[in-house]
Symmetry: C2
Subunit: 210 residues, 2 copies
DNA sequence: GTCTATATGGCGATAGAC
DNA sequence: GTCTATCGCCATATAGAC
């Protein structure tokens, strides 16, 4: 094994320079945004010189795009077990909501990067995001929506399910300042149960539906 | 009336320099973010010199904060007629959803700025946002939630209502790339009706609720 | 593959004339 | 109240030694 300078680790995995740069870039782009992060800052964080970064990436934009792809890779696998589970459609929904909530809550950098990308709304990158990463999940969710509510528009239902989870995670820091906040509102299982119940049953109890 | 150089207008209203600066700042901060917009760019957009901006604002950060306040002012009034209307709780919800969807769709800069602020999650500014702008609306929405679903947690229900509307608007550019997309999914009234129906009745038709 | 040194230009902010 | 001119700094990116 060749002698290697220690740059960064993820858990017990020792990263090479390019991986270290991408790893730090994900964290810092998520935190500061594209123009908020300078190559100097990134170089310092990665324990390298600016010139070393330019050895691996032609310019800042290419580095950014590769960091995005790196952060988004492998997310599909997480939902595979939800779709493969043998259970009722209602239970599948509950598991999907919980899984999505989990991913967004735990991989904070992923959520932040996604937010920034959607806000930027660059059509080319939107397409990359939609086709390359989310399309399959959306399609499976639409099938579930069809099963649960055949008389509703499954595209809109799927979009709403994702929306309610996404924004719940996003608005958590803001909601802390609103009345009625309780400690259990920070627990993923409590939130997941609430959202699932709301999606399945709605607000009005059966009997007094308008 | 003193002779005045024409800097900017909103409709038929002629703006003075400070108003022009704030007006352009809202648009450009929403588009590019704090570090993405330079004072030079802002000065050019406002048809003034950089030094003129510094005549009105001590530094870039103070300008940003004042722009935020300026953009957020007067939003409460829009919802007043929703709450004052004499109608059923279900109809009130429908009107609130439509109004919120309308504000976020039409005042794109407002929505972008809000998004960036929440993502930044600066506690001091979160507090300003929550207390100064949204608290009253959230409180009234909680009362409505209590009326519609007394057995559910009204804080979570209110948060979910806002979440579903907010994220629906935000994710529109992304959703365009997903299967099942139809032209009417761009119409505010269609989306509002879908969201209201989903919130009131949920996914499962009455009878086969788990 | 990584460094130091540097080119070139934009940044926030200020001085001082009008 | 607005300008031109300028400061000092940091940005992205490159050249060339090791």
């Amino acid at each position: 094994m060749p002698p290697e300078r220690l740059l960064g680790t993820v858990g017990a995995i020792i990263l090479n320079s390019k991986e270290t740069i991408l790893n730090k870039a994900i964290i810092l782009f998520a935190e500061k945004g594209y123009s908020g992060l300078s190559m100097r800052q990134l170089a310092t964080a990665a324990n390298l010189s600016v010139a070393a970064i330019y050895h691996y990436f032609p310019d800042k934009n290419a580095l950014y795009l590769e960091a995005i792809r790196f952060a988004f890779s492998g997310k599909e696998r997480i939902f595979a077990q939800v779709w493969e589970a043998e259970c009722s459609a209602e239970e599948k929904l509950a598991r999907f909501v919980h899984a999505l909530l989990d991913v967004m809550t735990q991989d904070h950098n992923f959520h932040c990067l996604m937010q920034r990308e959607i806000m930027e709304a660059n059509p080319e990158r939107m397409n990359l995001l939609a086709q390359g990463i989310f399309k399959q999940q959306f399609y499976l969710l639409m099938q579930l929506a069809e099963e649960l509510a055949p008389e509703q528009d499954s595209h809109l239902v799927s979009a709403s399910i994702i929306a309610i989870v996404d924004s719940t995670v996003k608005c958590r820091p803001l909601n802390k300042f609103f009345p009625g906040r309780k400690p259990e509102h920070d627990r993923t299982d409590v939130i997941a149960a609430h959202i699932t119940h709301l999606l399945l049953n709605g607000l009005t109890s059966r009997g007094n539906v308008q």
